[in-house]
């Protein structure tokens, strides 16, 4: 029975009774992999699309996060019947001449690619736009909530 806060680049695995959470997502993405048979899930707070071969923080990068989370689920005795949901990847500032330009969109695209390669269904997503999100996943209820300021809270 714990609440795990995944900071930027971090991850967590939760069992029934646990809450997984990633707060204040802008261009970053909160990804959750859900065990469809057991009450178990893993979350990553992904920052960048590509690791370029770096292995220091696998859940920092979209191209290494998915396989790393799968490995953690396997270690925890998951059924490995997995589906996924994600939210984030916004463009917070309306800029046209900065490396910030499309990092959120690229994060979302890279994660979708990784999920496809790993053969995992993306059940729902709430990505893009220009507003911040906080995501929480209740492992027991299998409930993925996206909270915003001024736009309320939705389950996706």
């Amino acid at each position: 029975m714990a609440e795990y806060f995944c900071g930027m680049g971090e991850w967590a695995v939760g069992q029934a009774g646990d809450i997984l959470c990633a707060r204040g997502l802008g261009s970053c993405i909160g990804l959750v992999l859900i065990d469809n048979k057991k009450r178990m899930a893993a979350m990553a707070h992904v920052m960048l699309p590509s690791s370029n071969g770096k292995t220091d923080m696998p859940t920092k990068y979209a191209d290494t996060a998915v396989n790393f989370l799968l490995e953690q689920l396997r270690k925890n005795g998951s059924s490995m019947d997995i589906s996924s949901k994600m939210a984030g990847g916004a463009k917070m500032f309306n800029v046209s001449e900065s490396s910030l330009l499309d990092i959120g969109r690229r994060n979302a695209e890279a994660l979708e690619n990784s999920l496809k390669e790993a053969g995992i269904t993306l059940v729902s997503k709430d990505v893009g736009g220009s507003f911040a999100r906080t995501v929480t996943f209740d492992v027991m209820k299998r409930k993925f909530l996206v909270k915003t300021i001024g736009r309320g809270e939705v389950e996706i």
């Binding site: 930027m8 680049g9 261009s27 920052m47 911040a132």
Partner: protein
Amino acid sequence: MGYEKLEADHLDALKELGNIGAGNAVTALSTFLNTEINMEVVEAKLATFNEAASIFGSPEKEVAGVYLAISGNLKGHVLYLWPIQSAKAIAGMLMGMNPDELEFDEMTMSAISEIGNIMSGSYITALSSFTGMTFELSPPAVAVDMTGALLDGIISLTAVGDRVLVIQTSMVAYGIRIAGVLVVLFEPDSLLKLLESIGMGV
């Protein structure tokens, strides 16, 4: 490069650069608003992502932010952040209105944007004359939302391993309850160039 090569001396030098920039920015703003503004502290530190995203306590804390991209010889990002009440107070001063009656409409956002633009512009001008390097600044972009979200893209782009180098200045204008934080993050290669330009090559 890894940040393990950065020693206390380098951080001190960057802090000093921060002081020069922030001093200039504070002077510009004091003149502009015709009020006394004090710079509290300039820090140059290697922060964890969470430390950087939690400048105001929680990554979910709602703040107003003005962002400018630095290009030219160096690549970097300037972000000026205010807690909501401070943003309203400073916009109210500029517009001659009661801060408590302000909404974040186009006019308020544009006032906030202008102040961020003046601050960042003077900061970068001082840095440029001190280092002899040319910097170009993008037009300002303004947003009001969660702290973590306004910072995470910039942190991601400037991170080395699990750390970012943040040059952070807190400012207080007395009498009108304004507290803001100016954050400057350089992309790693640019940081090396900046240190070289002041004879502190790593």
